[in-house]
Amino acid sequence: MSAEMSTNGAPKVGVYVCHCGINIAHTVDVNACTAFAASLPYVTVAREYKFMCSDPGQEIIQQDLRDGKINRVVVASCSPLMHEGTFRKATAVGGGNAFMFQMANIREHVSWVTLDKEMATDKAKALIAAAVSRVVHHAPLVRNRVPVHPDVMIVGGGIAGIHAALTMADAGKKVYLVEREPTIGGHMAKFDKTFPTLDCSACILTPKMSAVRSHPNITLWTYSEVAEVSGFVGNFKVKVRRKPRYVKEDQCVGCLDCIDACIYKTAKVPDEFNVGLSKRKPIYVPFPQATPLVAVIDPETCIEFKTHRCKKSCAEVCQKDAIDFTQTEQIAEVEVGSIILATGFKTFDATRIARYGYGKYANVYTSLEVERMVNAAGPTAGEVKLADGSKPKSVAIVHCVGSRDAHTNRYCSRVCCMYSLKLAHLLKERTEAEVYNFYIDMRTPGKGYEEFYDRLLQENVHFVRGRVAEISDWAMEKQEEGKLTIRVEDTLVGVVRRIPVDMVVLSVGLEPQADADDVRRKFNISCSHEGWFLERHPKLAPVSTFTDGVFLAGACQGPKDIPDSVAQAGAAAAEALALIDRGYVELEPNTAYSREELCSSCHTCVALCPYGAITFDTTKHAAVVNGALCKGCGTCVASCPSGALQQNLFTDEQIFEEIKGVLKYV
């Protein structure tokens, strides 16, 4: 402490008021604030400067410290979220302790929220007075370092999770890849082609899937979900619930004999992978390239689980004795230093827009259903068929279903224009039907995207600008009989059109996963109001979260196409690698501590601590706080009836002095 700032003798406070260009100076009288600061007790230096965060601005503080003019620093500028770190560091570089510093937010809390200069200046003065009054009672604090565990957990095995896993594993890190479904691959595995290049989705995805399977650094846990997360950056403990698949993963060789042998001679259960367009058996693999290629038994439909009277021909036929009806759920517990969430999205439920007739008319499909239909490995072997088995002669593709709509989702789902173009191309190729796109605006920014749109225009696909009002099966004219009629205002021509078609594709938007809120709680991160996982900063920290060590990749953060998901996955992997390679994390010292002699042994705090950081020491008869686990939330401090618990940077004295400061100088 003696090598740092002297706390002996009278406090000497330096106050630095920032103009922030005109961001603050335009509304707050910076001169008056500085003069006011100079009049406050303990203030020995009060200065103003155009940009305190600039190098020369920081240098002013450092010089005053070096000159011994001050031993405490107050900067009145922006939000601590922006520059608290900058000024703490400047204070330390000048020879002080980083925590002998306090920030007064006169930008976000003052100049940006009013046009009234007089009131703004008054409030700025009050906040400066509060900061000065508080900083006098600051004590030097030390940041502790803890090592970072080098392993990483990636949650979600779609293209984003796969790419992040391979990147980390190739860098020599040990990766746990956790996927809820029986196979990795995610949505991308369901697509036939990808836009705008029209390369085969499976052909570019499956090599990466098998690379995951065979990579020595990747532990792949499919059919598994994260049950519980504890710990903190660098030192997470994660419990993973491994659901029983009733087939031993290490024994099964993927010969699929068991599926042929199943006493169900025909498949009867709606196939999840084909979004219900085909049927599967109770024992199944989702698709031929499933990874791992291990069968799974669905106990909800398997006769053995329902009646215990099946002759179990699947087990009989298995040469590896891999079928195990006695399997139970297992909990695996691992320690990792960082976590990447890549949990993806779900598609909009089209039944929510009743006037589009999904679920009512057999020939109204969602885009995901059509993706499966045009896929050669899909339920119709790539043939586009109507409910009666015939080929459609006309198809309508309706854009923005569940996107850009005040009644459902206001946001643009970003991928629908492009996948609608792709489907238009594929439908035309497979059926030679007349294809109509009904759009609000065509949104095709991206490499090669606008060119692809242009190509579709050349391919004689029709484009009608207007949001579809209704899809119905009532006929006004002869040619509408037996068809689905699209009613739409063509806003380019200014007429209402009725266009009869055989088949309708609803281009459904992207939505957060149904359980996104549970997942965010588990990982202690935030969601935007739509439910997408919230990044730390929309521009400058797009893959970080407000929880250190937890990163985001892919569409769980917001609608994204494949290139963007992959790019973000790479960025998330790089952030995690940077954390691992630094090797340690510094813990904020704003933790709680116990004044053991005051503890009345009521145990209130022990139960309340959300991080399990407080234990009761029976020999001392007092609650004790583990500083490494404490996150500084303050819950225990507020609840302690005897005032035994205090928190660094938030002691009673500091808080009361801050309040007094505000009240005294308003």
């Binding site: 009743a354 007739g357 009512k360 009532w474 006929a475």
Partner: protein, 300 residues
Amino acid sequence: MKYLYYPGCSMKSTGKPYEESMLAVFSALNQGLEELVDWNCCGATAYMSISELKAFALSARNFALAEQQAVNGETNLIVPCAACYLGLNKAQKNLEEHKDIRAIIDKGLASAGLSYTGRFKVRHPLDVLVNDIGLETIQKRSIRPLAGLKVACYYGCQLVRPYAEFDDAHEPMVMDRLVTALGGTPVPWPLKTRCCGGSLTGTIPEVGLRLSYILLREAQQRGCDVIATACPLCQFNLECYQPKVSKMYKERIDIPILFFSQLMGLAFGLDRRPLGLHRLFVPFDRTFPVAAAEGGAHVG
């Protein structure tokens, strides 16, 4: 629960069979309705399109009268006419949301010694029948189920829009569920809430009648025996212009248009005259046999 009943002008004129059948049906369900004393126009159409404030004042007087009359704590005002239902609801929403409107109306009511608190809720009989009385009770009371009767349930434009108080705005289902409970078969059709032509049948007939024609033709094409309505103007438009529409579009249009309450009365086994069936222009002569008691033996 007791209800106050606001008829509005139609129920006493063109919609007479609606009132007759509705009162008969409620009475058959042992549910008394007390008519609002000294009620006045709801303020729909003519007022609403020229001066909303005057329309709100008319509605507010009805609410104020209801509050005065409600000595037994009634808070539900049954409003069968779709236009009144919408008009009263709209007035109430505006009085809730706009203090300035409320202030003017309050002053006006006070000069007549009346006051408005907003405690009355506007209820459509379909809502009350299905959600308060319940389909189970209705089904039990249906001694002559409408077996084999194919019904196009037509809600019209005002019942669920824009407020959708008791059903989906795009795909309303209460009448369909009611018809099912009565033993009939609701036919799926996508025109449930499409405009019947409204007052355009009188002012710009080539537009208004075309809208009626679309509904009539589609119901007929789908093999419906009857269109059930919940609005006096819809019933009037769809029924009375059928000869004219047939001539205009050179297509025979001939389909009975009944109020849902008339179908209920038939299923309940009530006589035809109290249900106003004799007033129909397109007659509906079908009768329905008494259902065999459960477990009972057939005679003959």
